[in-house]
Amino acid sequence: MRTVLITWLAYLSVVSANAQGNPKQLLQAVNRKFAQVSDYSANLNMQFNIPSVALEPVSGKVYYKAPDKFRIKATGILFMPRQNPYYTLQSIRDTNAYTAVFAGQEQVGTVRTTVINVIPYDNAGELILARLWIDPARQLILKSQLTTKTNGTILVEQFYGAMQQKGLPDRIRFSIDVARFKVPKTVAIDLNSKSKNQSLPAKGTGIIELSFSGYTLNQKLSDSVFREEAQGN
């Protein structure tokens, strides 16, 4: 199945390559842009809209260190996607590890994006398929749809502002399919409960939105910043 897909996409890529160039070249440009950042820290605000879960916004700090260290420090309970926000970039860093094919162009907001499908060669890896909507002018990933083995499909949208030159977004929005939450009433001890909380839809798409501000770049962050403390931050 994977072989058929690769073959078909390869054919399409040959057809479209004449008009758009090598997709890996665009991905490399995206990588180069982000490689300007070896580490950063920023203020973080997280908003949640998850079916069956009522959770108020959480504020904290976020830390990143190339190539793959990412940590959020916040008090309280928070729901994070299973992939960190830079999973996409991590996935495309090694251009020899995957095949990339153009999948046309689409409008994302006001931007005409180039759509690229990325298929890793490694069958054992977590990522099955990544579909990327890239702004070719700014070499920025505006949207990515990641299909993974254990975590299903997740849509990541990135919104850029002052830090777009470094490839750092102001906002990242995750959209995740959520299964129906149900616990027996005797476990919940939710007897006689008549008040149905209106803010808890049963199932659907869960949205987590991260807002970044106050970026501080390339401070040579220590690895100790990314170590897990005792539970509870």
Binding site: S52, G76, D190
Partner: protein
Amino acid sequence: MRTLLLTELYKIGTRPRSYIGFVAITAIVLLIELALWLDGEAYIGFILQSLEQSFDVQGRILNGQLVAFVILQTLIVQMPLLVALISGDLISGEAAAGTIRLLMTRPYTRGEVLWAKFTAASIYVFLLILWLGLLALGGGMLFFGGGDLIVLKSDGLIILKEADTLWRFFAAFGISFLSLSVVSTFSLMLSCFTDNSIGPIIASMAVIILFTIIGTLEVPLFERITPFLFTTHMIVWRNLFDFPLDIPLLLRSSAVLVGHILVFLGISFYHFSKKDIQH
């Protein structure tokens, strides 16, 4: 009146039976805390398993607030019995023992005697709740630390910020006090009608269990009467952990509980003031 109230408190305080409630609460709370200490993570894992397929849930989930919440929920059945054990005996127990004669030949009106007993019972309820609060919330925070509270419902979760939980717990204790005061007044009322010590206690529990079952069954006929049952409103303390707060519901239920107290007290005063003390 002060002397009367102090003697009632003294009688309650010197009676071994009065400490059953405190011992029971202590045992139950410690048991739950131990169970959560040993197996709390597994419990949380079970609760969150469907969500953890899609998300990485971070933070101190097993904390003092959650422990206190679980304890409060668990004691929902036991507390009314512990209260009825004392209140149901206040008049009928004295009648059965014969001390009601000596008491009612002191220079106090029937109303004053009943008021003193009601107040003493209310103080007992308050102390029970205070003890529960200290053990559940205080003990929970001590052993498990503080954190955000996950409120588990059968169809979802509500996560409340740590700073937003303390006042909710105090309000919940307040409503629990109101709820248990209804039980206390109800069993005191039954106590006025009989000279049998055990009858009011058992009758109180039977009524509470019956009303709770009626409230649980989703039968159209019963759903018409459940708004009038005090047991329906006794668990409204859980709604203090909703987000957002349903304030009209809370106020309505509180008013219903207060109304029940007044009605039960009124019936008690009326009957007791007219009752012939034969024993």
